[in-house]
């Protein structure tokens, strides 16, 4: 038990900023999605943040903070709606109220409209995910990553 106590106290001294982590958001390559022309489909984008890090929510309360933003290029498959999850709130030293953030594992959902005129075949829907990550002690520069979802359209 005493050793567990020592181990617990030693965790306090692990410097969270010991190594600069420039890639703290992991996104698996999106799986191909099947869709029928003339319907609406849902695409989930699972995201995983490195432990200790968070990104701002899609609606940060401070205008200087950079929101998490998913955008999709226009094309034959169009965006109907992007749904961000409910953020968790944090108490931070630099903002008076609770700060809405995302951390750990979370998903972004996009509803796409597949026009009836889209011919059968594979369509790549391209987009961009912009985020800016921090931990309790430091922030990393904003980053924009490319996202491509292959959609297999059938009649």
């Amino acid at each position: 038990m005493l050793s567990a106590l020592l181990a617990a106290s030693s965790l306090c001294f692990i410097p969270i900023n010991a190594v600069a982590q420039t890639n703290v958001l992991m996104m698996p390559k999106p799986e191909p999605v099947a869709a029928k022309a003339g319907t609406t489909i849902e695409v989930k984008l699972p995201l995983q943040l490195r432990e200790g890090y968070h990104v701002n929510s899609d609606k940060p309360p401070d205008p200087y903070l950079i929101p998490l933003r998913l955008t999709w290029d226009s094309g034959p498959i169009t965006v109907a709606e992007i749904v961000y999850p409910k953020p968790e709130t944090r108490k931070v030293d630099f903002f008076a109220g609770p700060l809405p953030v995302f951390s750990g594992h979370f998903e972004l959902l996009t509803r796409f409209k597949v026009a009836a005129s889209v011919p059968p075949g594979l369509v790549s829907v391209a987009g961009k995910l912009r985020y800016q990550a921090c931990n309790d002690r430091m922030c990393l520069p904003p980053k924009t990553i490319d996202v491509t979802v292959p959609v297999s359209v059938s009649r």
Partner: protein, 207 residues
């Protein structure tokens, strides 16, 4: 051992276990709270010359780091979107006010991609009383690729890097370091100073 003694022993043992468990939980819960005091001034012979730069401030004036030779400088890389940087700014304003007559200066290097459009309103809103220049990738590279913000470099009177802090550290850390460096004699050794513009270091100009 009879049943009563055994029960007593078990009870004492369980209480002890719970107390230790509660202590461990308390230690872990307190981990996040304090901003660390990372005071670590390098000894004079370990300090390396600070790379120079020439960057523009909000008025368009060129600011060279080598112009600050003879002063203790707190060089802070920051950005408007960086929350922890926002915590430090009032501290640095306080240092600028307290030590400006003792050959000390704070220089803020903003790493905002959006340039003065983002930085100027912020500087005005926060009433920042020290010099702010707009940084760029070249300057970031000169200082070992500044990626995490805030990154703060404390420079001695001879233009040498006395300490580097990546991330938020306690105000007292900076205060102790500044005061220690200000104690050094004004006419210190001439070697190891900020490398002069146009000689062995790259003089960089911002756009």
């Amino acid at each position: 051992m009879d049943g009563q003694k055994l029960r007593q022993k078990l009870t004492v043992s369980s209480i002890r276990r719970w107390v230790l468990f509660a202590a461990a939980v308390t230690i872990l819960a307190s981990c996040e709270a304090p901003i660390p005091d990372n005071y670590h001034l390098k000894s004079a012979n370990e300090r390396k010359p600070t790379p120079d730069f020439a960057l523009k401030d909000a008025t368009g004036a060129t600011v060279k780091l080598s112009d600050y030779k003879g002063k203790v400088v707190l060089l802070n890389f920051w950005a408007t979107w960086c929350g922890p940087c926002k915590v430090e700014i009032p501290w640095f304003m306080d240092f600028q006010k307290t030590y400006k007559d003792r050959d000390f200066a704070v220089v803020g290097v903003s790493m905002d991609e959006d340039g003065w459009d983002a930085v100027k309103p912020y500087v005005e809103e926060k009433k920042m009383n020290y010099r702010v220049v707009l940084g760029n990738d070249q300057v970031s590279q000169l200082f070992g690729s500044v990626d995490s913000l805030p990154t703060t470099i404390v420079i001695d009177r001879e233009g040498r890097i006395a300490s580097t802090h990546v991330g938020l550290v306690a105000k007292a850390t900076y205060q102790k370091e500044i005061e220690k460096l200000l104690e050094a004699p004004k006419d210190g050794p001439k070697t190891g100073a900020v490398r002069a513009a146009g000689s062995e270091f790259a003089l960089l100009h911002s756009n």
